[in-house]
Amino acid sequence: MTPGVIATRAGGLWRTLPGSGRAALVVVAFLWLVSAISPLASRAASEIRLEDRLQPPSAAHPFGTDDLGRDLLARVVAATPLSLAIGLTAAVVSLVVGFVVGSVAGYFGGAADLVLSRLVEVVLCFPVLFLLLALAAFLPPSPATVILAIGLTTWPGDARFARAEVLKARDLDYTRAARAAGASTPRILLRHLLPNVLAPLLVSAAFGVAWAILAEAALSFLGVGLPAPAGSWGGILSAAPAYIEEAWWMALFPGLALFLTVSAYNLLAEGLRRASTEKTFA
């Protein structure tokens, strides 16, 4: 897996992505761009002006103002990097943990498989909400806590997938031959497994990011995620229900940003999936 190979594969991927997938990629890139310039908005996002509270959208405030008079557009922009970063990190945590657990279970089998599969089941059946609320209750509400909470509850899906793949790979002639020749296990897994699962991994990661962003927003909305003002879109939304009658914009715009982002990642994931399965057929 040299950089050259990766670059070629990446280029190939772009070419095989359907139109919707490419559009999604562009949107995602745009969001990252917004994140990059978001520090510019941080002043306006935290400037409390009580006289201007709950103003409808206007030229001065394109998204209106919130219940403390802060410009809503600035707040939505300022919340972008956090929402994205948490989504990405949580998805990566989930992927890594799931993959490690699943591979170990699949490769070693026997007792290890039995125990680890039970662990996967426990987490799958575990009341997610309870875990999130409990974690929120005793860990200080930081991005790390939220990432931990989301990552710890979504890894079983990846674990199951990884285990299935490893089981398949373990019995291939190629693997047996390599083992007979004395190659070490991790090396076999890496050399054979990784290329095959790279595409599904990416797909899973993209769906995972979408899911993680949604989950974080839900947590913040319920009041157990990130505290204001360094908030995420879900946090901004959490203040909206109290003012739903007089300030509909407080609900509309942060939610729209959320929706756009989640759609983009889902669309990207879908496009990646189609691209990779088509490649297998071709």
Binding site: L50, D67, A137, V224, P229, A239, Y243, E245, E246
Partner: protein, 520 residues
């Protein structure tokens, strides 16, 4: 200037109709001794008479007890129950019930958050005959008689049962004007007239409580005519006044009570142990602007741990002004300067950064806190507003495990005695002085007031204390906001008081419906 109204004696009340009231939550219990939350008090007001009651002028009037007497020692009280007082099943209310109730309140295994603190000083309870008994306390306490605004429970019904699990906690035996008919958990509670009631009967035929946790939803339900009253906040008031459909059908009832918002400070923390810093903090919150912009004028700035309508409040003790420059000077004088140029003040290597805890559900509390945090940032103090889940929040507050916490003081009686909350003997874990405040002069005055028998002299001591609290700033006292209710215009006979619409006699029992409709 908002005042109080008392329409309970106006007009000619008509009997009949159904009163539809709102509860913010399901009562956990209808056992009057175990009650701990607002919804419970509101329902029990119809089912359970107190020994004595407050009238709307905050005077004690007879309830189940037709009279009481203070003995010369000042700490013993004798009660005579009304001979006609009976329970829903016809049996009389007797001293046995009173003794039983008080013993349950004192029982360490029973949780009675409303009454236990009040009866802590009780030394002996003695029955004299079936209708009369005495209570003897360890010492004199000026506000002791307020303890007698307490309910009684039927001893015979609870005999031999596990008190906390008895069926009567869900299906209480009434000694009041109404009795419980239905209770659909999380949905509604239905009451109808108690035919055995010994006093003046209520005007409504039935009372239905609907459980509506959300304020915005309650407003809509009232607007559609399915509720006769609901409490609202400032934005609800604005909405109602500008909505002709609502304002033609409903009236706004607004008045000040004794509740207030404050930000508790941990006086033992390195940040807030210096009174200058605490004063500076108070000067950094523009309370006038908060009253104007968040409450739209329906709140008053306070300068001490009482609402302006409390007898202890001294109106000449003006609040500290909003003065960031003056606050900066105080902070400098206390040694907090930005020595390393990072924008935050520091002292002896410690940065002035702290967490301001707030309960996650509140809107107004959070808005006040964020306004303060914004202003603090401007003078170089890094305050982070941290919403916390209620259970975790209250645990930390009770333990004093915080730097600053946003709280609301809620008064269920007009007792102005600050001892339990500000005296240095009441630090956690023993007491409720969660901010660890200690001031020798204030301590002395609080002790003196507790033993002072003359009302005027006692109030004068409280006014002295008020000045000390203003200058020493043990906490950041914010505002006393008005209570706002929307009532159907057809509901008459309302009375308001410093403790609210309920908790007084006759209170809601005097309400009646103008031309009651035959509703299902």
């Amino acid at each position: 200037m908002l005042g109080y109204i008392d329409e309970s004696r106006q007009g000619t009340p008509v009997d009949g109709g159904v009163l539809r009231r709102r509860l913010v939550g399901d009562p956990g219990t209808l056992n009057a001794v175990l009650q701990s939350a607002g919804p419970e008090q509101e329902v029990l007001a119809y089912l359970s008479r107190n020994l004595l009651d407050f009238d709307s002028g905050m005077n004690l009037v007879p309830g189940l007890a037709e009279k009481y007497e203070t003995l010369p020692d000042g700490r013993t009280f004798r009660f005579w129950l009304r001979p006609e007082a009976v329970w829903e099943d016809g049996t009389p209310v007797t001293s046995a019930d009173a003794v039983f109730t008080i013993r349950r309140i004192q029982d360490p295994k029973i949780s009675s958050p409303v009454f236990k603190p009040v009866f802590e000083g009780l030394e002996a309870v003695q029955t004299i005959d079936a209708r009369s008994f005495t209570l003897r306390f360890r010492d004199f306490y000026a506000y002791r008689p307020m303890a007698f605004v307490m309910p009684l429970l039927p001893e015979r019904r609870y005999a031999g049962k596990d008190f906390a699990r008895a069926r009567e906690n869900r299906f209480p035996i009434s000694n009041g004007p109404y009795r419980l008919v239905t209770w659909k958990s999380q949905e509604s509670i239905g009451l109808e007239r108690n035919p055995k009631y010994w006093g003046e009967r209520g005007h409504y035929d039935r009372v239905i409580f609907r459980i509506v946790p959300d304020d915005a939803v309650a407003y809509r339900v009232l607007a559609s005519g399915d509720l006769d009253e609901t409490r609202i906040d400032t934005s609800g008031k604005e909405r109602a006044l500008s909505d002709p459909a609502v304002s033609s059908r409903c009236r706004l009832v607004e008045f000040y009570n004794l509740d207030y918002n404050y930000i508790a400070l941990n006086n033992r923390s390195p940040f807030f142990s210096d009174a200058r810093v605490r004063r500076a903090l108070t000067m950094l919150l523009d309370r006038g602007r908060i009253v104007r912009s968040i409450f739209h004028g329906s709140a008053r700035v306070i300068s001490g741990p009482w609402a302006p309508d409390s007898p202890a409040y001294d109106p000449t003790v003006t609040p500290l002004p909003f003065d960031p420059a003056g606050a900066s000077r105080l902070l400098d004088a206390a040694g907090w300067k930005d020595t390393n140029g990072d924008g935050t003040r520091d002292r002896e290597g410690r940065e002035f950064a702290f967490e301001l805890l707030v309960s996650a559900g509140t809107t107004v509390g959070r808005e006040i806190d964020e306004t303060l945090a914004g202003e603090l940032r401007r003078v170089g103090i890094r305050a982070t507003v941290r919403p916390m889940e209620w259970a975790a929040f209250i645990e930390r507050v009770d333990a004093g495990d915080f730097e600053a916490a946003s709280l609301a003081w809620s008064a269920s009686d007009p007792n102005p005695d600050p001892y339990l909350y500000w005296h240095s003997s009441q630090w956690p874990p023993r007491g409720l002085n969660s901010g660890f405040y200690r001031n020798a002069e204030a301590d002395r005055l609080m002790e003196q007031a507790r033993g002072e028998r003359d009302d005027r002299r006692r109030l004068a001591i409280y006014r002295q204390l008020h000045r000390i609290f203003r200058d020493d700033a043990p906490a950041l006292f914010v505002t006393n906001a008005s209570l706002k209710y929307l009532f159907s215009r057809r509901t008459r006979g309302l009375a308001t008081s410093p403790v609210g619409l309920f908790g007084i006699w006759p209170g809601p029992l005097a309400w009646w419906e103008e031309t009651p409709a035959a509703r299902p």
